[in-house]
């Protein structure tokens, strides 16, 4: 079953004098439970596409159906609810609230759920443990390293148990061990049945997915299946051994 169907998606930014056509007639589908990497050089429109997939932005033209519903026809409130309970977004720039603690940041999406869960704090703590930040729960984001901030952003994306996880360069700021850990988290989530779309410019990262789409000049240049994805768990263990032997 197709979870995502893109049909001739166009995105043109209009500024005072210039029109920039960033996405050009993009069409592809993603099945439920897939792990997809989107690759491309800087400025090809990867983030723009992610924002459209995450229902944050609307295409200038074309159709986007999520679970069979045409996103273009939904109103603002419906899109907000959808973002809240179906989609987990890891932004390229993390976007954490510096005033709130790490724990509060992770809990933030829960504020906008229909029913605030009794065990909100426990859920957030569990996710922080999964990304290895238990001891940093009471820190402020500006007291963390870039990699730690990225992991907080990942934990926050997962708090509402989203069916679709969108991650924009989630390993961009991480060393190879932490990068492998984060990818291991995504692979585990994928094994549990979640659909994952990951943006990266790094082929090694991309090959942890089952499928890679290559964007070039705002168009799909390549769409191929990875028959044997890399195993992030194994890499993480190998990195750990390397650390030990040093």
């Amino acid at each position: 079953m197709n979870m995502i169907e893109l049909e001739n998606i166009d995105k043109t930014y209009v500024t005072a004098s210039v029109e920039t056509r960033v996405l050009k007639r993009i069409s592809f589908s993603v099945q439920k439970g897939e792990f997809l990497s989107i690759m491309g050089t800087s400025g090809t429109g990867k983030s723009t596409l992610m924002h459209i997939l995450g229902c944050l932005d609307k295409p200038t033209d074309g159709h986007y159906r999520l679970d069979g519903t045409d996103m273009v026809s939904l109103n603002d409130d419906a899109l907000s609810h959808l973002r809240n309970n179906k989609i987990g977004f890891v932004f390229q720039q993390f976007y954490l609230l510096d005033r709130a603690t790490v724990l509060r940041n992770v809990m933030l999406p829960l504020i906008y759920t229909k029913e605030y869960p009794e065990d909100a704090k426990e859920q957030a703590e569990k996710l922080l443990a999964a990304v290895g930040l238990t001891e940093r729960a009471t820190y402020r984001p500006n007291q963390l390293s870039g990699g730690q901030q990225q992991r907080v952003a990942i934990a926050r994306a997962l708090i509402n148990n989203p069916a679709l996880v969108l991650a924009d360069e989630p390993t961009g700021n991480l060393d190879s061990k932490s990068g492998a850990d984060v990818l291991a988290v995504f692979q585990k989530l994928n094994r549990e049945g979640r659909t994952i779309i990951l943006v990266t410019h790094d082929r090694n990262v991309a090959e942890h997915a089952n499928r890679i789409i290559l964007l070039k000049d705002g168009m799909v240049a390549e769409d191929r299946v990875i028959s044997s994805p890399l195993d992030a768990d194994a890499e993480s263990r190998a990195e750990a051994e390397k650390e030990m032997s040093k």
Partner: protein, 405 residues
């Protein structure tokens, strides 16, 4: 639960810019403070005057000789009128059904001597009923009785100020004083009554029996005032009318204007209430202006806050916040901001009005209702002036907000 969490976060944000927040709140603090100060001091001043009016006596109607006029807010008798008689008082008592008591009185500044002390004080000749009508009681000694009045006895009851001026710390009761040339025995001292409606000291007086004053001191056949007590407070107006028509008949005025003036306590209170209500209007408009200034301060700080937190707004929207969630968050913030300003204003205003009432020797009046109204008003203003920034924030495009620097 989730609301309270957001409020705590909002408060953290506001405390981040302490100086800016404080400055923007200043208008609100001053506005609410002004309301509290003006209402409180206005009320204690009013209470003071009402107390004075009530202290004059119970169900009191005052008949004075001649046409008196209000000059610079005080009653002034224009010229000496000799038509008001002791017999008029007797007649008022007998013929006016709404009247319970009537006491004629005269008064005049006279030189008083005791040993080598020499003071100028008002001597009031008054019948015994006058003490009851005006609520004057002996603090020590006694007041004279009707028998002494009829017999032209030379006895006196001194007011506390007059007593202090004349006798210093000595006990006045039993002393011999000279009023004009006549020797009197002090038989009592009256309880202090404070100042009257016109701000005059009611205790700088020496009471003597009416007949004694008229014949032995002033040598007059007419009186200046008749103090009348109505049967109850509802009959004040009736008493006034009955007295007026009786006196016009007795004085054979026909087409001539009144040669007397009648006032009753209710009218005095009513006049007082009118002054206060025009004061209230003034207070209201000053307060409204300051609160609007305060509201503009809130508007400014909230607009700045929205601009500074544009990324946060984008993020919240991206994470699923509805437009109305964002709007409500900013409304709650500006309401809290305004409420804090209002609280500070109430605190400052209460301290200031307490200080003023102490300084002016007014009874302190804590207007809790005014404070409550001012506080709720400040919150309403916070919501009102927060509405525009909040709607502005709510209508931001999520992705544009996220991407803006």
């Amino acid at each position: 639960m989730k609301i309270s969490k957001e409020i705590i976060l909002s408060l953290e944000i506001l405390t981040e810019h302490k100086v800016r927040t404080f400055l923007s709140l200043l208008g609100m603090v001053v506005g609410v403070g002004a309301v509290v100060v003006m209402v409180s001091t206005g009320r204690s001043a009013q209470k003071q005057i009402v107390d004075r009016i009530n202290r004059m006596g119970t169900n009191l109607v005052i008949v004075s000789a001649g046409k008196s006029m209000l000059i610079a807010g005080r009653q002034r008798q224009m010229n000496i009128v000799r038509t008001l008689q002791v017999a008029d008082a007797q007649s008022i008592l007998e013929e006016c059904p709404s009247v319970a008591l009537a006491a004629p009185a005269v008064s005049e500044k006279v030189n008083i001597r005791w040993e080598d002390q020499n003071v100028n004080t008002t001597v009031a000749g008054m019948s015994v009923d006058g003490f009851q009508i005006r609520g004057i009681k002996p603090q020590s000694g006694r007041i004279f009785d009707p028998e002494e009045s009829r017999a032209l006895k030379r006895v006196a009851v001194v007011g506390s100020t007059a007593a202090a001026n004349l006798f210093g710390s000595a006990d006045p009761v039993g002393q011999q004083i000279r009023i004009g040339k006549v020797l009197f025995e002090v038989i009592g001292k009256a309880t202090p009554r404070g100042t009257d409606v016109n701000g005059l000291d009611q205790d700088d007086v020496i009471f003597v029996p009416l007949e004694t004053a008229m014949r032995r001191i002033l040598n007059v056949t007419y009186v200046q005032t008749i103090y009348v007590q109505a049967r109850n407070s509802r009959l004040l107006k009736n008493a006034e009318e009955e007295i007026a028509s009786l006196l016009r008949e007795r004085h054979r005025l026909a087409a001539k204007p009144d040669d007397f003036t009648i006032q009753n306590q209710a009218t005095l209170l009513e006049a007082e209430r009118e002054t206060t209500s025009s004061m209230t209007l003034l207070v209201g408009s000053v307060a409204a202006i300051s609160l609007i200034v305060g509201g503009v301060g809130i508007l400014a700080v909230m607009l700045m806050s929205v601009r500074e937190r544009i990324r946060e707004i984008g993020l919240r929207r991206a994470l699923g916040a509805l437009r109305r969630d964002i709007r409500n968050q900013f409304l709650v913030e500006s309401a809290i901001l305004a409420g804090v300003g209002g609280m500070a204003g109430i605190g400052g205003g209460a301290i200031l009005s307490w200080a003023i009432s102490r300084f002016a020797h007014w009874p302190p009046v804590i207007s809790l209702d005014a404070a409550a109204v001012a506080f709720s008003f400040s919150v309403v203003i916070g919501v009102f002036f927060g509405l525009y920034p909040a709607i502005k924030a709510a209508n931001l495009d999520p992705i544009q907000a996220l991407r803006s620097e």
